[in-house]
């Protein structure tokens, strides 16, 4: 088998090398890839869409249909994690800690209820005393990370950035909360319902903008048709449309990041984990 694998790898490598013989030189300005469509984009984008960032314009407008499905792929990934990993069975063993003394209680019967005040906290099996420095630093840092994420989303059409990147940054701020505190703190703040609704809503904003354009009499995703709906300069409407879909992408990516994280670290039980 190893030998066959080696032969196949050599053949594929040989094919790829053979294919490169006729490719244009690296960075050749006369190559088809840099002349056929690129010229059109470079000459017309700013005039047609009023977006200075050409990459965003191609991504979210000229090829916005692709990007919509890329967002749907992200949504699929989150849903796949839920479908395959989520485990609704209650866990047998539960642990509680008496906060003032640090004494631990171990319940083996899931039906047992602990009737006590705030001095007991529900805790993970592999509990590590949380570090005050880490907690404090993260607590201060998280809001700034989130503001930066919003900045990246909002500036997608002016500078490098956009919904995917901003969403990942925002999602990672929530994951940082789970790492520095514990998973329960995160799950209490962003529930499963919240996350799944936002994941669907994010993509729905994208598709919805496209459908709105269709209802206004244009093609699907033709943001130019949204002009009568918004009190803005009609020339600038495509840039606004792109901002709208970037926001949708950002929301969906943020929610899916957290869904994937929670399901993987807690093995689908949403109770404890990294």
């Amino acid at each position: 088998m190893k030998f066959f694998g080696f032969v196949i790898v050599c053949l594929t490598g040989g094919l790829l090398l053979y294919g490169t013989m006729d490719l244009p030189d690296w960075g050749d300005p006369g190559s088809p890839a840099s002349t056929h469509l690129s010229d059109y984009y470079i000459e017309h984008i700013v005039e047609e869409t009023q977006v200075p960032n050409l990459v965003t314009a191609v991504l979210a407008d000229y090829r916005g249909y692709d990007t919509m499905f890329e967002t749907a792929v992200v949504f699929c990934a989150g849903l796949a994690c839920f479908l395959l990993l989520r485990d609704f069975r209650p866990k047998k063993d539960r642990y509680f800690r008496h906060v003032p003394t640090g004494v631990m209680l171990h319940f083996k019967n899931p039906q047992t209820r602990l009737i006590a005040g705030n001095e007991f906290e529900h805790m993970d099996k592999d509990w590590v005393p949380s570090d005050m420095i880490i907690k404090t630093v993260c607590r201060i840092l998280i809001p700034f990370i989130q503001i930066y994420a919003l900045y990246v989303v909002a500036h997608g059409d002016f500078s490098p950035g956009g919904g995917f990147q901003g969403g990942v940054i925002f999602g990672s701020s929530l994951i940082l909360m789970a790492i520095s505190y514990n998973l329960k703190t995160l799950v209490k703040r962003v529930t499963e319902k919240f996350l799944s609704v936002f994941a669907a809503l994010g993509v729905l904003i994208y598709v919805g903008l496209g459908v709105a354009a269709m209802l206004m009499g244009g093609h699907f995703l033709d943001y130019g048709m949204l002009a009568p709906l918004l009190p803005s300069d009609p020339g600038h409407i495509r840039a606004l449309g792109m901002l709208g879909v970037e926001i949708g992408v950002g929301i969906a990516v943020m929610a899916v990041m957290v869904i994937i994280y929670i399901n993987i670290v807690s093995e689908g039980r949403h109770d404890e984990g990294l």
């Binding site: 407008d61 249909y65 692709d66 990934a77 849903l79 809503l201 993509v203 269709m214 995703l221």
Partner: protein, 491 residues
């Protein structure tokens, strides 16, 4: 302006997200949303097909940009036909499988429907698009959803089958993407029609040949052409019934469509059959696929596994037909996309009914089925006869075109393989019929000699009946389909 081509893809997409939201209000709602979304999509597909037949190829510019700059949906006779097939099967299957889903995955049924809709979106999008990269994105969606849904099946074996599928499927998709990369470097465009025009001028280029080989290999892996089929039998046999019924007839057929599209529209038949000398080798490969699929099916002891190997065999028919290099062979291959979709769907509907009532599909568990489930078995027999190729079922007519094409091309080995595999299929199905008909039901027969009919619910039987009618109708109207859809497309 006609928005139907977009609605056809968007209805299930919107449906998926609304179903996801509605599940938080009431679990049942997501099923009805899915049903409504597929009904809209089905209606749009039929209306697109009638429009294309009367007024020719439809183009739909996404976001309003002209084709090489933006993405276009380009629907001609071939994909209009495949789109109707996909949306109709997906819709009928939703009606048929609701009880199976309740039985198998009741605790996460809403998510199942969301995933199911996204899978159908992927198939419809792959078929409707006129853009090479968009095709890849949608293949990604179909693959991701099918990995997930297959893993939901049999608790012990499905996750492993899905994992194998992921490894191989990802390689297939990467090959296709790499091929598109080579094409983009050499042509600078991603629009199929535009690429086709540019490719005419650079046919001798080694980069184009590499791109062609990579794209076709990627698609072959995805469609499970022998010997790249190893992922398929387990994945389809262990998937949950509600999904196996739609993935088995559609996934491989859509990939065959992609292959035909790449051959006819993008690279051009002249390039493939005149510049390159690969056709003979590929027909031999198809012959091996047909024989290997048929003979491996002979050794299976489980009905689902047997059907999965028959799919491998049928893939050989279509690939071989498309590569014969004449119009008859291509006609047979395209007609077989439609017919095989219907036949496989009917077989899996029947198998799903059996699983719903008996939970098992090993041959030893099938005894006494004709007495217990007469209607299901009637549908199964009809679909089986169609796979064997008995007129007037549709399977006969596509095989007829394939055999004629093989004789015209002088590919007698391909004709021989077709006939041998038909005989093997006859042996296979009559073996199953014999077990179901003559062997007494070991479980119930001992104490209760009176035969009790334990038939599947009406929704399942009605779906099976509908598909059975479609199989016969596709057979009777085969000539009309060829004259109005396939021949005009090939000209």
């Amino acid at each position: 302006m006609n928005n139907m081509p977009a609605i056809l893809v968007l209805a299930p997409l919107l449906g998926a997200f609304f179903a996801c939201l509605a599940a938080w209000i009431q679990k049942q709602l997501s099923y009805y949303i899915a049903l409504a979304a597929m009904a809209v999509s089905c209606f749009a597909a039929v209306s697109v097909l009638t429009d294309v037949i009367t007024s020719g190829t439809m183009q739909y510019r996404m976001a309003g940009w002209a084709p090489p700059m933006g993405i276009e949906l380009r629907i001609d006779l071939l994909n209009a036909m495949v789109l109707v097939l996909i949306s109709a099967i997906a819709f009928v299957n939703l009606v048929a499988s609701v009880k199976n889903v309740e039985q198998e995955i009741s605790d996460r049924a809403p998510s199942f429907y969301v995933m199911y809709l996204l899978f159908v979106v992927g198939l419809l999008g792959v078929t409707a698009t006129g853009d090479l990269f968009n095709l890849y994105v949608l293949i990604e969606i179909t693959s991701l959803t099918s990995y997930t849904l297959i893993a939901l099946g049999d608790k012990d074996r499905a996750p492993l089958a899905a994992l194998n599928y992921i490894f191989i499927g990802v390689i297939g998709a990467s090959f296709y993407l790499l091929g598109v990369g080579y094409l983009y470097i050499t042509t600078g465009s991603l629009n199929m029609a535009d690429v086709a025009v540019i490719l005419k001028g650079i046919q001798g280029s080694s980069a184009v040949l590499t791109a062609f080989i990579l794209c076709i290999l990627g698609v072959w892996i995805k469609m499970a052409l022998f010997p790249l089929h190893v992922w398929l039998p387990n994945a389809y046999a262990f998937a949950p019934v509600g999904f196996a019924r739609v993935v088995a007839p559609l996934m491989t057929k859509v990939m065959v469509y992609v292959m035909v599209r790449l051959m006819v529209t993008v690279f051009g038949l002249e390039y493939i059959f005149e510049t390159l000398n690969l056709a003979d080798a590929v027909v031999w490969l198809a012959v091996t696929a047909i024989l290997a699929g048929a003979f491996t099916a002979l050794f299976q002891k489980d009905l689902k596994k047997m059907l999965a190997y028959i799919i491998v065999c049928e893939i050989g028919y279509m690939v071989g037909g498309a590569w014969l290099g004449n119009s008859l062979g291509m006609t047979g291959a395209i007609l077989h996309i439609l017919n095989d979709g219907l036949m496989t769907f009917a077989l899996f509907l029947a198998v799903g009914n059996i699983i719903y009532m008996r939970r098992q599909t090993a041959f030893s568990d099938l005894s006494g089925l004709f007495a217990a489930m007469p209607w299901t078995m009637a549908g199964f027999v009809l679909a089986g006869l169609s796979i064997i190729g008995v007129p007037p079922t549709c399977g006969f007519f596509s095989k007829w075109y394939l055999v004629l094409g093989a004789f015209e091309a002088g590919a007698y080995h391909f004709a021989a393989a077709l006939i041998i595999s038909s005989l093997v299929c006859a042996v296979l199905f009559f073996k199953v019929f014999e077990i179901c008909f003559f062997e007494a039901d070991s479980g119930a027969g001992d104490h209760n000699p009176a035969k009790v009919i334990t038939e599947a619910p009406v929704s399942m039987l009605a779906s099976l009946g509908l598909v059975s009618v479609a199989i016969i109708a596709a057979g009777i109207y085969a000539g009309t389909i060829v004259d109005t859809i396939i021949l005009p497309f090939l000209q």
